[in-house]
């Protein structure tokens, strides 16, 4: 079944041509060696794939099993101790949050960032944004699994949960901002914040702020073994490195949902195997990095639906040890930025389907994605000027430095090597690359004591504006991996948390972004967006900005149904 492509056509390549090529490809390696290069369409940057798959107008059918081959195996089930997507790819289904973001069948488009109530029906803030009151839904039941046995959720549960988050683990930073929690009645939770913050509801809508149960924590001593929540799916089985099986919660408070009987996640560490699983029908949807991979899949699975995903949540850039020379000099940072041809990377490595780079998602301060010009003068490819600027900063002959990274996907290795070549050619900067395994890379990066350069990230789960600004850029924040240290940014991000008016918020955010670009505080690099490819019978699975359905956007699966 063809995807709902607004343009109505695939750009120039008919199905027959696909199939003919499929025959050629299947013949053998010898023939493959002479196969045609990636289609011109992809090389020219036009993407025949839609960016949004709106909710299907048919009435949803109940039943069926959705399967997915996943790269991520959760290290443990305890939401206090990990933010890994491996856990939240299904913890978002076993559990609820107080507040959530819109689902694909209620969202207006791929950029919809509106909040909806999850466990809370409504919420309000005091005029100074220090006291937040949440009214809980009534009749929400915990899953009918011992020791909860389907009892009702009350405000005491929320209080217990938030206080536990504040006590230990990876979410303490956020939850410690709560001074005190009141529960005036069974269905009301009142949070008293230490400082005024307009984004409290957004913080609680983060995919990781799930509500867990007191009984399990008290009985087991930790949450590593059992994951029981109030969510649409019950975790029936979790075998490490093998699979996770989620079955419909018959007592779910959102009546009629979820539509699926079962959601099975198969732990499949190898990328080629995940693709093969999709082809063989063992996986119902899969994420792919580049247009040429999608084309290859469509040769064998021509009716697969494809969503071009533009708003991935994980941002990568060239992190510099900017608390030390030479990167503490803004001229050096600007020179580096001008010496790298980002557009070329988008056109080649990402086959036209990439973003030049962003730190704060554009939808928080403007309507459309940033154009190259909007980045400002220091982000254009001007190697001659870069060389001059670097000389001015005292490095006319360049210098040597190191760069370490972890290969999250193969395009990253391509980028790293391109950057190395360009810095050498344009600025005579010698970059020695070290490719590391995940633990070494991650540990070294977040410790923030490394020297030289790193292909660094900003965390994957954060949807909210506060996370993306204050948490990542304030000089005192422990999540400031890029080591940004700018008084103006500190001031603006703090001010932002106290600005309730949405228009003003956008204005301040724009000022933060402008300052970031001007100071090249974080040297963003192009990165992938990828595609969500699904079997033709899957409905309502579209990924929305910063919430990919197979990852942190897993709550979407409550609305997925199978048209078979």
């Amino acid at each position: 079944m063809p995807t709902q492509d607004p343009k109505g056509t695939y750009s120039g390549v008919s199905r027959r041509q696909f199939l003919r090529r499929a025959g050629g490809t299947a013949v053998g390696l010898g023939a493959l060696a002479l196969s045609r290069p990636i289609s011109k369409a992809a090389a020219q940057g036009a993407s025949p794939y839609t960016e949004w798959i709106p909710a299907n107008t048919k009435a949803p059918k109940r039943g069926g099993t959705l399967t997915r081959a996943s790269a991520w195996d959760p290290p443990m089930l305890d939401p206090r101790l990990t933010q890994s997507v491996g856990l939240y790819q299904f913890a978002g289904l076993t559990s609820n949050r107080l507040v959530r973001y819109a689902f694909p069948d209620e969202a207006s488009g791929a950029g919809d960032m509106s909040l909806k109530g999850d466990l809370a029906e409504s919420w309000s803030a005091s005029p100074d944004n220090r006291v937040w009151t949440f009214k809980l839904r009534q009749g929400v039941k915990w899953q009918n699994v011992a020791p909860l046995n389907g009892r009702e959720l009350t405000s005491a549960d929320i209080k217990y949960c938030f206080e536990a988050y504040a006590k230990e683990g990876v979410q303490t930073f956020n939850f410690k901002e709560i001074e005190g929690i009141e529960t005036p009645d069974k269905y009301t939770v009142r949070l008293h914040m230490q400082t005024p913050n307009v984004f409290v509801a957004h913080a609680l809508a983060e995919p990781i702020s799930i509500v867990f149960s007191r009984e399990v924590l008290e009985e087991d001593g930790d949450l590593k073994k059992r994951l029981i929540g109030t969510g649409p799916f019950v975790l029936k089985e979790h075998t490490r490195k093998v699979r996770a099986v989620l079955r419909r919660n018959p007592d779910y408070w959102d009546k009629g949902r979820p539509y699926l009987d079962e959601y099975i996640i198969l732990m499949t560490p190898d990328d080629a195997t995940r693709k093969a699983a999709f082809r063989a029908g063992q996986a119902d949807f899969v994420w792919m990095a580049s247009p040429s991979e999608v084309e290859a899949i469509r040769k064998t699975n021509p009716s697969a639906s494809v969503q071009a995903y533009h708003n991935s949540a994980v941002f990568f850039g060239l992190a510099m040890s900017q608390d030390k020379p030479p990167f503490n000099d803004v001229r050096v940072r600007r020179a580096l930025s001008m010496a790298i041809d980002r557009q070329k990377q988008v056109d080649t490595v990402f086959e036209g389907h990439g973003i030049l780079g962003w730190g704060v998602p554009y939808m928080y301060f403007q309507e459309k994605p940033l154009t190259a010009a909007q980045f400002g003068p220091w982000w254009q490819y001007k190697p001659a000027e870069a060389k001059k600027l670097l000389a001015e900063a005292g490095h006319p002959n360049g210098f040597s430095t190191t760069l370490f990274y972890y290969e999250y996907w193969p395009q990253m290795t391509s980028q790293v090597q391109l950057v190395q070549a360009e810095l050498k050619k344009n600025l005579n900067i010698d970059v020695k690359i070290t490719k590391l395994d995940y633990t070494t890379y991650y540990g070294r990066y977040v410790e923030s004591k490394w020297e030289g350069l790193c292909w660094g990230f900003q965390s994957g789960h954060a949807v909210g504006l506060d996370e993306r600004t204050y948490q990542y850029m304030h000089s005192k924040s422990t999540k400031n991996f890029f080591r940004v240290n700018d008084p103006q940014i500190d001031e603006l991000t703090t001010k932002l948390r106290q600005t309730p008016d949405p228009k003003e918020q956008r204005a301040i955010t724009k000022r933060i972004v402008d300052r970031e670009f001007d100071q090249v505080a974080r040297l963003w690099m192009p990165y992938d967006n990828g595609f969500i490819v699904a079997q033709p019978f899957v409905r309502n699975h579209a990924s929305i900005a910063l919430r990919r359905t197979d990852g942190y956007g897993s709550p979407h699966i409550a609305r997925v149904w199978l048209d078979k």
Partner: protein, 316 residues
């Protein structure tokens, strides 16, 4: 003979201790820490938090104490829990070992079934076209890296047949048919590589033995050629082949991490390698110890098999 066996076992103890010391030392010297993976992609861990978790996991004790603690745990057969998952290591092993055993057994069988007949054929028809063909095919099995062959197999199975082994390990007892489907392809890939080495060794030792006097004598006596080959020559030729097989079994039991990763099998290979990459010290130490002990025992068995195969060999 018994004295020999006892002596070997007695000598094995310091060897295993030394191995454990080497692994312990290597793991601790490695940069990075089990904690960083535990905290999974967040950085807002205060030093206090880190210190607390480190204390809970007993990583703050001096190294010799940690080693002693682990040794004590091993002796009492309670190896403790994984740092990363908190799962008792005995549980992880109970899940991983059957996978590796099954893969190893199947790969060995497939490998031998291919290797020995071809090896013998190659030897008896030395320097003919079939010899060359056999040798080139066998050596090509040695030349392709696991990860490439495995990726090739699974990618083209999906493209050509729209079928791949069902993902999601099921044990032999739960569903034999599904289990066999899962293991056949990876065992074949592994077996192909193993068969290469075995085939070459078979060929060379059969060649040697065929030249022995007693073989010529048997030939001169007029026994049918084939009986000569199989009965007399093979038994003697088996000694070095047994060595090779023993060595391969050792490698297999350590786990074939690459094949396990590509075919999504949760075996010992992945368990150990992933534990190294995640700096999960107790898991690595325990696994390597287990495998080392198995290898040492296997070596002993191989040596004893020599004595059985060749009556001239006697141990005192």
């Amino acid at each position: 003979m018994y004295k020999y066996v006892l002596r070997r076992m007695f000598l094995a103890v310091p060897v295993l201790l030394l191995s454990s010391l080497i692994v312990f030392g290597l793991m601790r010297v490695m940069p990075g820490d089990a904690l960083t993976v535990l905290m999974g992609e967040s950085g807002n861990i205060s030093e206090k938090e880190l210190a607390k978790v480190r204390k809970e996991l007993r990583l703050d004790l001096p190294y010799y104490q940690q080693y002693g603690l682990w040794l004590w745990q091993m002796m009492s057969l309670r190896p403790g829990d994984s740092l990363l998952t908190g799962e008792p290591i005995t549980v992880s092993l109970r899940k991983a070992i059957p996978v590796t055993l099954e893969l190893a057994a199947l790969a060995m069988v497939l490998g031998l079934v291919i290797a020995i007949p071809i090896g013998v054929l190659s030897a008896t028809r030395q320097d003919t076209a079939s010899d060359y063909a056999g040798r080139v095919v066998a050596v090509s099995g040695l030349s392709f890296p696991d990860f490439w062959l495995g990726t090739l197999v699974i990618t083209f199975a999906a493209i050509w047949f729209h079928w791949i082994p069902p993902i999601g390990y099921t044990s032999l007892w739960d569903s034999p048919w599904r289990n066999l489907q899962q293991f056949l392809l990876p065992a074949a890939v592994l077996g192909f590589r193993l068969s290469a080495a075995t085939m070459r060794m078979t060929r060379s030792t059969v060649l040697e033995v065929l030249r022995e006097d007693y073989v010529r004598t048997a030939w001169a006596k007029g026994l049918a050629g084939r009986i000569v080959v199989y009965k007399h020559a093979l038994k003697n030729a088996l000694i070095p082949v047994v060595t090779v097989i023993g060595g391969q079994l050792g490698v297999l039991l350590a786990g074939a991490v690459v094949i396990e990763t590509i075919f999504a099998l949760p075996g010992m290979g992945r368990l150990t390698v992933e534990a190294i990459l995640y700096r999960d010290y107790p898991v690595v130490q325990t696994n390597v110890m287990l495998v080392a002990a198995t290898l040492v025992t296997l070596n002993l068995l191989v040596d004893l098999t020599y004595a059985w195969l060749d009556p001239r060999i006697r141990y005192s």
